[in-house]
């Protein structure tokens, strides 16, 4: 080292006193904390790696976003039993490795990021609940997830006789062990079928019907003098009025129905019941529902409008119901509404099957809960009678896919079979207070209100523009929000909608144009699926979907008339729709 560099080193080195100062006080604490944090992080990473990537144990990770009370606990018990069963097998020498199934529950808010990041990094969980992320659909699904179509044709080994619930009837006991896995699902495994990819990519574990009301029976009895649950909309509104009066008399602030921003679209479930007669007249192509082209053509021709008496009834009923919701419900989330219900400020809570477990658990020891179905105006009541939409066509939910690069795919498949076997699916759903989806399974008493409703009208009636008509739809949603909060009258809403439909920039003509473009794009996208299947049938028949599925997709695509189907539908509507005024046969309540 020459003299010059020695001088330079001395110049840039901090003086000893400065070094000592830096290490004093908070700086030292910071350094210690930093080192400790780094150490703990490294230890956590290493121990997690040891847990997940050990050669001695086949670890299978399940990611999901079902954070409702009961679900994780029921799943954990299922996994514990499965792990114990596999331990026994290992001890008997039937399997080469120990098995450990673990769950990774993640909030809805971060679920998509978790899945996207890990799919790209090839570190995704072995079993993934399919949702939120765009990478669990379309081409990504084909790339990252296992097509289980061939497995779906084989019986589920956990439906063998020794595993079945003892209370099953003889017919079911005989049938289940030999039934293809697919047929053991009450919906025929449709919930896991991908029409475009022509294959089964998901295994559903439950039914998730919504549109129910959880009822605080104690509060209802205190206010109405009876435990009888309301059977009609009129009875519900009457109970709400009594609840308010009871609250006032007892110096309590009561919001009869705990609702959230998710309930701002409640009115959509009233469309089919309230507009049923109009639907019959506007359904030009006679497919049982009103599509966007029929709806907009009818509006343009003046056959139907938002001023119709039936629509006025729908608006009035929606307003009447939402008047029983808490102030500011349009900004409330589910937890806030649940809080109102469990704090007994509300006697009703709008819920789905996914909420039931949480409701029952939070109410335990505090008050009695019952679940009731959705209600419609009854005979002799204002706006009545109206029939609800039936749920016969419901498909199973909470679909789980298998990650293609899973190092323990065989165990992952085995666990999904275990989970969806008759006995285990029943047990899991009963413990979680959800609705089982396998042949021969039973609901708990408390969940019987979630049995799919088979009586009621067909709910295929959309009446709403799909996303090509987003501007009209957003206008409608905005107007209905105003109706619900009492800020907008039906007349104003109807006028605004007429204006929106006629608008040159985003009204019906623009919607038709965008819809035609979309139809052509979709047609080209389905050609990819058809072309691929045709190739697989010739070059790799074991990877191809069935002949029937192929014909279904080709037939569906052909009905698109090479992008001309919307124009054909509009011409049909022009031809078939009656003259102005003829469709308004619902009458309304005036």
């Amino acid at each position: 080292m020459n003299a010059h560099s020695t001088k330079l080193a001395a110049a840039i080195a901090p003086p000893k006193s400065r070094m000592k100062g830096m290490m004093n006080g908070w700086n030292a604490v910071g350094l210690v904390l930093l080192t400790a944090t780094l150490g703990i992080s490294l230890w956590r990473v290493t121990s997690t790696e040891k847990q997940l990537y050990t050669d001695d144990v086949a670890v299978v990770r399940i990611s999901h976003w079902q954070l409702e009370l009961g679900y994780r606990q029921a799943l954990q018990r299922l996994m514990d039993d499965y792990n114990a069963m596999q331990d026994e097998r290992f001890k008997r020498g039937e399997i080469k490795k120990r098995v450990k199934v673990i769950q990774l529950p993640v909030s809805e808010k971060t679920y998509a990021q978790l899945i996207n990041t890990n799919l790209i990094a090839h570190t995704a969980p072995d079993i993934i609940e399919m949702g939120f992320s765009r990478m669990v659909s379309g081409g990504y699904k084909a790339e990252y997830f296992v097509n289980i179509s061939s497995l779906a044709e084989l019986p589920n080994p956990y439906n063998a006789e020794q595993y079945l619930s003892p209370e099953l009837d003889a017919d079911t006991k005989r049938a289940l062990p030999v039934m293809p896995w697919r047929d053991t699902f009450l919906d025929g495994m449709i919930g896991g079928f991908d029409r475009d990819l022509q294959g089964y990519y998901g295994v559903c574990t439950t039914f998730a019907p919504g549109g129910r009301l959880a009822v605080n029976v104690d509060m209802l009895k205190a206010a109405t003098g009876s435990e009888d649950l309301p059977q009609t909309l009129g009875q519900l509104l009457d109970a709400c009025a009594k609840l308010r009066a009871w609250g006032k008399a007892n110096g309590r602030e009561v919001w009869p129905i705990a609702a959230t921003r998710y309930n701002t679209n409640n009115w959509t479930s009233m469309i089919a019941p309230f507009l049923r007669e109009s639907q019959r007249a506007v359904d030009a192509d006679r497919d049982g529902s009103v599509n966007m082209h029929e709806f907009l053509t009818a509006s343009q021709k003046g056959v139907w409008s938002f001023s119709d008496p039936a629509m006025a009834d729908l608006v009035a009923a929606t307003r009447a119901l939402s008047a029983e919701f808490p102030n500011g419900f349009t900004a409330m989330d589910r937890d806030a509404a649940m809080f109102l219900f469990t704090q007994q400020q509300s006697a009703f809570f709008q819920c789905g099957a996914w909420d039931a477990g949480t409701v029952y658990r939070l109410a335990e020891g505090k008050f009695k809960v019952k679940i009731m179905g959705s209600v419609m105006p009854g005979k002799g009541e204002k706006w009545g009678p109206k029939h609800p939409v039936n749920e016969a066509a419901m498909t199973a939910a909470c679909s789980y896919g298998l990650y293609k690069l899973s190092p323990n795919l065989d165990v992952a498949i085995d666990f999904l079979r275990y989970w969806t076997s008759q006995a285990q699916n029943q047990r899991f759903n009963q413990e979680a207070d959800w609705v089982p989806c396998i042949v021969g399974t039973r609901l708990t008493e408390g969940m019987k209100a979630f049995t799919p409703r088979i009586e009621g009208i067909y709910g295929g009636s959309a009446w709403l523009p799909t996303w090509e008509g987003e501007a009209i739809r957003l206008t409608l949603e905005g107007q209905m929000l105003g109706v619900q909060t009492g800020e907008i009258t039906h007349e104003k809403m109807a006028a605004k909608m007429a204006e929106a439909i006629a608008d040159a920039d985003y009204g019906a003509p623009k919607v038709f144009q965008r819809s035609d473009e979309l139809s052509r794009d979709q047609l080209r996208a389905s050609e990819r699926s058809i072309g691929t299947q045709a190739l697989l049938r010739l070059l790799a028949p074991d990877k191809a979907g069935s002949e029937n599925n192929y014909r279904a997709v080709v037939s569906t695509q052909s009905q698109g008339l090479n992008g001309m189907v919307n124009e054909a539908m509009r011409r049909c509507a022009e031809r078939e729709l009656p003259k102005a005024g003829a469709a308004t046969t619902d009458g309304g309540s005036k």
Binding site: G139, A142, E143, D171, T172, R174, A175, M179, D183, D187, I190, D285, R286, D287, G288, N390, E391, A392, A393, K404, V439, G440, P452, I454, E455, G456, I457, Y458, G460, R520, R524, E527, R528, G531, T532, A534, L535, L536, L538, L539, A540, K543, E547, R551, A552, V554, S555, T556, S558, Q559, L561, N562, G563, M564, E567, A568, M569, R571, C572, R575
Partner: protein, 291 residues
């Protein structure tokens, strides 16, 4: 010397670029390509098919398979670009020319029809005449194969899509003629397309009911949507005053499609027609599965 080095380097780069496709066996490369197509990896699959095409003797079965596979990849690779689709068409034509009566040649003909008919990009114009020629070639060359039914369906639709009455009638005639063949595997799809065209395009209830009825008898092409077709047939028969036919269709919805969501409406209408409907029993476990 330089030229040879460059050529060697280029060849080496081709094979290095292929990654896993260095296989000397065309069958292995074709299987790998097909596997990648199953997961929509058309660009990587194309590398395998291209390698197999180079390795297999021209005109051999393996060469036809590789050429066909490569063509499908070029046609389906996203983003869709017209030069790539043109390359696909040229490859399909090679398969047609050298494939003789092979099923690959039949499918290549059909795919050429699809390329002509589809609007691949906004700059593309469908050539319906050209499409019909290819579809007709499939029907004429392989009249008894299942693919002829599919080609007939496609050919019928090339006419119906014009939406002009005369053309729609011509399309329906093609569909009905093929559908009426005994044991036609595409009969359900053909009758459905014809029935829908009779109603939606031409407003002819009686013919629509006739064709939709035949579709239901033959087996709906998409069982998950069969109830919608039966409903349409029921409504049209009902409106035509054909009470018996309407009742038959309504009954069928309740008994065969209880999970469709339309059974309750069908029950209501049967009552309005003065007939007590059967009960709705959700198909929790079809009888045949109990056996």
């Amino acid at each position: 010397m330089h030229t040879r080095l460059i050529l060697a380097a280029a060849l080496a780069s081709v094979f290095c670029g292929c990654g896993e496709t260095t296989s000397k066996d065309p069958a292995t490369a074709i299987a790998a390509g097909a596997g990648l197509c199953a997961s929509y990896n058309f660009d990587r699959a194309a590398e395998h098919f291209a390698a197999a095409r180079m390795l297999a003797p021209a005109g051999s079965e393996a060469w036809l398979q590789a050429t066909f596979g490569l063509a499908v990849c070029r046609q389906q690779e996203v983003p869709i670009e017209l030069p790539r689709v043109a390359e696909a068409a040229a490859l399909f034509k090679e398969v047609v020319e050298k494939g003789g009566a092979s099923p690959l040649a039949a499918q290549a003909c059909l795919n050429l029809g699809r390329i002509a008919e589809l609007r691949d990009t906004s700059a593309d114009t469908p050539d319906l005449e050209e499409a019909r020629r290819w579809y007709k070639q499939v029907v004429d060359t392989w009249p008894d194969a299942a693919i002829a039914g599919e080609a007939s369906l496609r050919m019928g639709v090339t006419w119906i899509q014009s939406l002009e009455r005369k053309d729609v009638e011509a399309g329906i005639a093609i569909l009905e003629a093929r559908a009426a063949r005994p044991n036609e595997p595409w009969a359900g799809a053909l009758w459905k397309q014809a029935g829908d065209a009779w109603w939606v395009n031409l407003g002819d209830r009686a013919n629509a009911v006739r064709c939709l009825g035949r579709c239901i008898e033959a087996g709906h092409p998409d069982p998950s949507r069969a109830a919608l077709t039966v409903w349409r047939a029921a409504k049209l028969a009902d409106e035509s005053g054909d009470r018996d036919a309407a009742l038959g269709f309504y009954r069928r919805i309740i008994e065969r499609h209880p999970n469709s969501g339309m059974a309750w409406d069908a029950q209501q209408r049967m009552r309005e027609l003065g007939v007590e409907p059967p009960p709705i029993k959700l198909a929790v476990m079809p009888e045949e599965k109990k056996a």
